[in-house]
């Protein structure tokens, strides 16, 4: 550094000289330097923009693919739902229409009986009494000849009238009683008809509501088939909900499996040894884990055989006879494993008591073997849990299926989000490099302010003289 300042006897002058030389060199190299900076930053800008566009295209492709997969899965699920609804309707119609003929017959018989009873209940007007003719005859008698006989006749007529009246009243009462009896007999028939018609009404309402449901499902199905945005959006949000719900249930299942593991790990040490290791893990722990995994697998196969889940289409497509056989085999294995676990849970309690007794002896306690009147409760509870937990874990197949199906959508959405973020970041970076280039040019020009000012001034004067020459 000293030799740079010693080119003249005065270091300040030397420094100034160097500055002038440097500024001059930088000024002459300005154009090339600017081109180099612009080229470098433009290259970075273009590359990053290109990368950003490529990433965005990938995100778009992935989004499209995700949508296709989502719509396909939604279509399949909707087809199953519609198929199930049609099955329900056909079952309902078959059940109701099968009894329609008997229903019709019952209604017809009831109506016939009512008609008959109604006919019988019709009020038949009584025949006019014979004494009316007698009055007519008396009225026609000659006034002179009949006076003597009229009094007798009228007396007879009076007696007849009274008797006839009594007879008429009796007949009327009997007829009314009979009518009431008949009407009373009609009541159960009316009630029966009312109930039958009510039942028919309910069945028809059920069918109508089912048909409304099917309409809705069919509309949704059509939206999915035509690839509507709304349908894709609904399926996507449903998928997210299913993902979180199934994840929650799986976590609960993992908790159950952990409890199950703690029940059988210690007694497994009695079977396979407590200290032998496989790959750094205790053999007893691995054995316990294997038992639990086998139980979960059996549960999975059982669910598949019952066609509750569809993780392995091969199982669902098996002939029915084979599938039923598989159901029995998997259930039997599950039952045996659950029994084994219950036994192991009992053994765990025995081992625990043995260990406590040994510890008490070594501590010098006089209590000896621990006896408790409520010990059987914990033993029974452990055995119960050891037996029930495997069966409870079989149902993990259902949330597992939902989790697996929805995971693809969720991972796809996260990947799309990440790609879009990366694209945005690359684009921002591209812009940043572009402006860095401009900044670099300005920083380069900063020490050259004197020559640049002179250049600007010269070019300004040259423009003025050119303008004035043009004006002349």
């Amino acid at each position: 550094m000293d030799f740079l300042l010693n080119i003249t006897p005065w270091p300040v002058l030397s420094a100034l000289l160097w500055i002038v030389l440097a500024v001059t060199a930088l000024y002459f190299a300005r154009s090339s330097a600017h081109k180099a900076i612009r080229a470098a930053t433009d290259t970075l800008y273009q590359s990053l923009r290109f990368a950003s566009k490529a990433v965005l295209r990938s995100a778009t492709r992935l989004s499209k693919r995700n949508r296709e997969v989502l719509l396909a899965a939604g279509r399949e699920a909707k087809e199953r739902i519609v198929e199930r609804e049609f099955d329900r309707i056909s079952e309902s119609v078959r059940k109701d229409l099968a009894s329609f003929s008997s229903l019709h017959r019952a209604l017809s018989e009831s109506i016939n009986r009512i008609e008959e009873d109604h006919q019988q209940a019709v009020d038949v007007p009584p025949d006019p009494p014979g004494w009316v003719k007698a009055v007519e005859a008396v009225a026609k008698l000659d006034s002179r000849d009949g006076r003597v006989r009229v009094g007798n006749i009228l007396s007879d007529i009076h007696k007849s009238l009274i008797k006839a009246h009594q007879d008429a009243v009796t007949m009327y009462r009997e007829a009314s009683a009979k009518r009431h009896t008949l009407l009373h007999k009609m009541r159960p028939e009316w009630r029966k008809i009312q109930q039958t018609l009510g039942q028919v009404g309910k069945n028809v309402d059920t069918l109508l509501s089912r048909s409304v449901t099917i309409d809705r499902h069919m509309q949704e199905y059509e939206d999915i088939v035509t690839g509507q945005d709304r349908a894709a959006s609904v399926l996507s949000s449903s998928s997210l909900v299913y993902f979180f719900v199934s994840m929650l249930v799986l976590l609960v299942a993992i908790g159950g499996a952990t409890i199950n593991f703690s029940l059988i790990a210690r007694p497994m040490a009695e079977m396979v040894g407590g200290t032998s290791l496989i790959g750094g893990f205790r053999t007893a722990h691995i054995a316990a884990l294997v038992i639990i995994m086998v139980e979960i697998s059996m549960g999975l196969f059982l669910m598949e055989s019952l066609r509750i889940t569809r993780l392995f289409p091969v199982i669902g497509a098996l002939p029915d006879k084979m599938r039923v056989r598989m159901i029995w085999i998997t259930f039997t294995i599950l039952f045996l494993l659950a029994s084994v676990e219950a036994g192991l849970a009992y053994m765990r309690e025995v081992l625990l008591q043995d260990e406590l007794a040994t510890s008490a002896l070594l501590r010098g306690d006089d209590s000896g073997t621990l006896t408790g009147q409520y010990l059987w409760i914990t033993t029974a509870a452990q055995m119960g849990m050891g037996f029930i937990l495997p069966f409870a874990l079989t149902f993990v197949a259902i949330p597992l299926e939902t989790f697996v199906h929805s995971l693809r959508t969720v991972v796809g959405l996260l990947t799309i989000g990440s790609l879009r973020f990366v694209s945005l970041a690359l684009r921002l970076l591209a812009g940043a490099f572009r402006y860095l280039g401009l900044l670099a040019e300005q920083i380069y020009d900063l020490p050259l302010f004197i020559p640049l000012w002179l250049e600007e001034r010269n070019s300004g004067n040259a423009n003025k003289s050119a303008d004035s020459a043009f004006a002349r």
């Binding site: 040490a269 009695e270 200290t275 043995d354 510890s359 070594l362 010098g364």
Partner: protein
């Protein structure tokens, strides 16, 4: 674990029994444990009171622990004082036992006042390999002569430390038995 049964130290055996029970409680499957007495001539298998290598199965291990504790209890009840104290012989026997077992960690507990008193004719001035061994002296009680001249006690401890470390072992003295917890 080497138990000193010489002279008045025999009265400390009940404390030793507690230590043995504590040790048994802390040991796990496939661990080996032996208890031998220090008497006139300790370099002998006959001086091993009880020995065990714990089974892999928990139930068997518990049974072995109980049987071991019973043997020790019977020994403590019937032990007689010996006239001489051959600690080096006991140490040699312990080294032989642990080397034969091929254990990963080797620990020798010496329950003694460390006052060696060899019978005439017994040669114990020999070298042996204690590389990888932890030798821990427990309950090193002070003799009456130690109270008169504490230098005897200190030099006795120093001599043993020198001897053990000379042959490649790690030496430690624990008189407060609560210090045993961190050890096992």
């Amino acid at each position: 674990m080497l138990l000193d049964t010489s002279g008045t130290y025999r009265e400390e055996l009940n404390k030793a029994q507690q230590i043995i029970r504590y040790t048994l409680a802390r040991l796990d499957a496939t661990d080996s444990f032996a208890v031998a007495r220090i008497d006139t001539a300790s370099f002998s298998e006959k001086d091993i009171v009880a020995k065990v290598t714990f089974d892999d199965r928990p139930s068997m291990m518990n049974r072995q622990k109980r049987q071991f504790a019973e043997k020790i209890s019977a020994f403590v009840d019937g032990a007689r004082s010996s006239p001489y104290t051959d600690i080096t012989g006991g140490l040699l026997q312990a080294v032989e036992f642990l080397n034969e077992k091929g254990t990963g960690r080797k620990t020798i507990l010496i329950f003694s006042d460390l006052k060696e008193d060899l019978k005439d004719g017994y040669i114990r001035d020999i070298e042996f390999d204690l590389d990888g061994f932890n030798v821990i002296a427990l309950n090193v009680t002070k003799l009456r002569s130690d109270n008169v001249d504490p230098r005897e006690y200190l030099s006795r401890l120093a001599d043993w430390q020198t001897k053990i470390e000379k042959f490649g072992g790690q030496w430690r003295v624990i008189n407060d038995l609560e210090g045993l917890e961190g050890l096992l």
